[in-house]
C-alpha cells in the first residue's frame, strides 16, 4: 500500500491492522510525553486547497506526535492564487524533498490525479464529493470502541448523501468490515447511481431508526447539510429538512439504548442534529475527533515508517 486515496484501497486485513495500530497510538494520548520516534527525519506536507479545521490539525498533530516535520500549505496565499497550475504547485512542493503529501481538494478525483504526478505517498484528506478515507477509518474506530466487532452491525447514514465524501468512504469501509449500511436522505440528496453502492437506501428516517424498514439500527451517523456545495433548491426550507431528516429528541427515542450517534462535524445544530442528540450520552462526536488523531497516526506509520515501495 503506497497511497491512501480511497477507502476501497483497504482490504479487510489492512483496515483491521490500521484500527488495531490506532488503538495503540491512542494510548500515547494519555501519556505525559506525547512523542514517538518512527517518523523522525520525515517531512509531511499538508496541502489544503479547501478549508478545514479538524482534518488538517489532526493530521498535523498525528505527524508531529510521530516525530515527522509537518508543513501546512493552504491554497489561500499560495502560488495557486497567482495562477500557477495544480501540477506545477504539487511538483514544486515535492521537489523540496517531502516524504508524503496529505491533500484536500475541492474537485473530486484531484487527489488521485496528484498521486499520478508525484512519486511520494499521497493521502487523501477529502476530495470534493468523492472520498475521505481517514474519516471513514476514524468512524469505524469509534464504532468499534462502542459496538465491538463491526461484522453484521447495521449503521444508518442520514442526510446530505449527494455532497458527502464521508458517506461514500464509510459505505465502502463499513462494507469491507462486514457491517450493513442504510443510507437515508430525501430523494434530492440521494446521489445518482446509488443503486450500485453496496448498501440499502431509504427516504423514511423514522422507519429506519425504529427498525421497521431494514432491521434494528446499531448506530446512526448524521451528515452535515453542505450548503456551500448546493447550487439549487435541494429542499424547500431548512425547517422542512429538519422536520423530515433532523435527529430530533423524539427520533432519538426510536433508537436502541446503546446506539451511538456520530457526526463528522462541523455540525449545523437545529438543522440535521438537535442539541440534545449532539450533546447527549449517545453522542460520540468528540470521541470521533480524538480517534482522528490516533487513526491518522496509524495511517502515517503504516505508509511512512517502513522502507517504502521497493522500486520495480
Amino acid at each position: 500500500m503506497k497511497n491512501l486515496l480511497s477507502a476501497a484501497d483497504l482490504s479487510r486485513e489492512d483496515a483491521v491492522e490500521i484500527l488495531d495500530t490506532a488503538r495503540r497510538m491512542q494510548e500515547v494520548q494519555t501519556r505525559e510525553v506525547k512523542k514517538l520516534p518512527p517518523l523522525r527525519g520525515r517531512t509531511v506536507v499538508n496541502l489544503f486547497f479547501e478549508d478545514s479545521t479538524r482534518t488538517r490539525s489532526s493530521f498535523e498533530i498525528a505527524g508531529k506526535w510521530l516525530s515527522a516535520d509537518v508543513i501546512n500549505v493552504s491554497a489561500k496565499g499560495s502560488s495557486l492564487s497567482k495562477g500557477e497550475s495544480l501540477r506545477d504547485t504539487v511538483l514544486t512542493v515535492e521537489a523540496m524533498g517531502v516524504d508524503a503529501l496529505v491533500v484536500r481538494h475541492h474537485a473530486s478525483g484531484a487527489v488521485a490525479r496528484i498521486a499520478q504526478w508525484v512519486s511520494c505517498p499521497v493521502l487523501n484528506a477529502g476530495d470534493g464529493t468523492h472520498e475521505h478515507p481517514t474519516q471513514a477509518l476514524l468512524d469505524a474506530y469509534t464504532l468499534r470502541g462502542r459496538l465491538g466487532v463491526l461484522a453484521d452491525r447495521h449503521v444508518a447514514i442520514v442526510g446530505d448523501i449527494t455532497h458527502s465524501r464521508v458517506a461514500r468512504s464509510n459505505v465502502l469501509l463499513l462494507r469491507t468490515l462486514g457491517a450493513r449500511v442504510t443510507l437515508v436522505a430525501p430523494p434530492t440528496l440521494m446521489p445518482a447511481g446509488v443503486a450500485s453502492w453496496p448498501c440499502e437506501t431509504s427516504w423514511d428516517l423514522d422507519a429506519v431508526l425504529s427498525g421497521k424498514a431494514h432491521g434494528d439500527v446499531d448506530a446512526v451517523m448524521m451528515l452535515r447539510v453542505q450548503r456551500e456545495r448546493m447550487s439549487g433548491g435541494y429542499f424547500p426550507t431548512e425547517r422542512e429538512y429538519a422536520i423530515g431528516y433532523g435527529l430530533s429528541p423524539e427520533r432519538l427515542e426510536l433508537l436502541g439504548d446503546q446506539a451511538p450517534v456520530l457526526h463528522p462535524g462541523p455540525m449545523n445544530r437545529g438543522l440535521e442534529i438537535s442539541s440534545l442528540a449532539a450533546d447527549g450520552p449517545r453522542s460520540v462526536v468528540l470521541d470521533q475527533v480524538q480517534a482522528g488523531v490516533a487513526v491518522r497516526m496509524a495511517v502515517l506509520y503504516r505508509l511512512l515508517a517502513g522502507p517504502g515501495e521497493v522500486p520495480v
Binding site: D20, E27, V33, P307
Partner: protein, 193 residues
C-alpha cells in the same frame, strides 16, 4: 507483513533442531532467576517492577512475578513495554503491528525497572526498550533479565539475570516456546537456512 511471527509449535519434540531446555528445565531456570532478582530487589525494599518486552517477554515477566511472590511473599507490579516504534530497523525491515504497552501500577519513576525478554542477541531490542522507557518515566535503576543469552552482541549491553547461556553460531536460530503463547515450554536451537 507477518513474517516475523513464527508458527507455534505445540509439541517441542516434533520440532526440528536441538532441544536445549525442556518443560521442567524452563521451570527451574525461571525459579533461579526469580531468586536472583529477589536478592537484588530485597536491598531496595522491593520497590521494583517487572516490564516484559512483547511477545514472549511479557508472559515471562508475569511468571517471574508469580515465582517471586511465592518465594518472597511480595507481589512486584508487572507491565509490558512495546518497543516496535523505537526499533532501528523499521526502515530496513518494514513496519510491523504494535503490541501493548502496559504501565505497571504506580508507574516506573523512581523505582527499579527490570526489563524481561526471552532471548538476548544483538542487544538492539534492549536499546530500543531503554529509549521507550525514558518516555514512560525516570526509573531509579534499569536491569535486564533474559531467559537465553545467545551471544553475538552488537551493542555494549549485557544482562543482569541470565537463565541460560547458549553459545550459537550466527546462522542458528534460538526459539523460546512458552506455554502461554505456544502451548508448552521449551528452548530449541535450530540450524539456519
Amino acid at each position: 507483513m507477518a513474517e516475523h511471527r513464527r508458527a507455534p509449535v505445540p509439541d517441542p519434540r516434533g520440532a526440528e533442531g536441538t532441544v536445549i531446555l525442556r518443560e521442567a528445565d524452563v521451570g527451574r531456570v525461571v525459579d533461579r532467576m526469580a531468586h536472583e532478582i529477589i536478592e537484588t530487589v530485597a536491598k531496595g525494599d522491593f520497590d521494583a517492577v517487572l516490564l516484559g518486552i512483547p511477545t514472549r517477554g511479557v508472559p515471562l515477566a508475569y511468571r517471574l512475578g508469580a515465582r517471586i511472590e511465592v518465594f518472597a511473599g511480595v507481589a512486584l507490579p508487572v507491565g509490558s513495554i512495546d518497543i516496535t516504534l523505537y526499533r532501528d530497523d523499521l526502515r530496513v525491515r518494514g513496519v510491523r503491528p504494535l503490541a501493548q504497552t502496559l504501565q505497571p501500577e504506580g508507574g516506573i519513576t523512581g523505582r527499579s525497572v527490570i526489563l524481561v525478554d526471552d532471548v538476548l542477541c544483538s542487544g538492539r531490542t534492549c536499546r530500543a526498550a531503554l529509549d521507550a522507557l525514558t518516555e514512560l518515566g525516570r526509573p531509579r535503576l534499569v536491569q535486564l533479565a533474559t531467559l537465553v543469552d545467545r551471544g553475538h552482541r552488537q551493542l555494549p549491553i549485557r544482562a543482569d539475570y541470565v537463565g541460560k547461556n547458549i553459545p550459537t553460531s550466527a546462522t542458528q536460530n534460538v526459539r523460546v516456546l512458552l506455554a502461554e503463547v505456544d502451548g508448552s515450554d521449551a528452548v530449541i536451537v535450530e540450524e539456519g537456512r
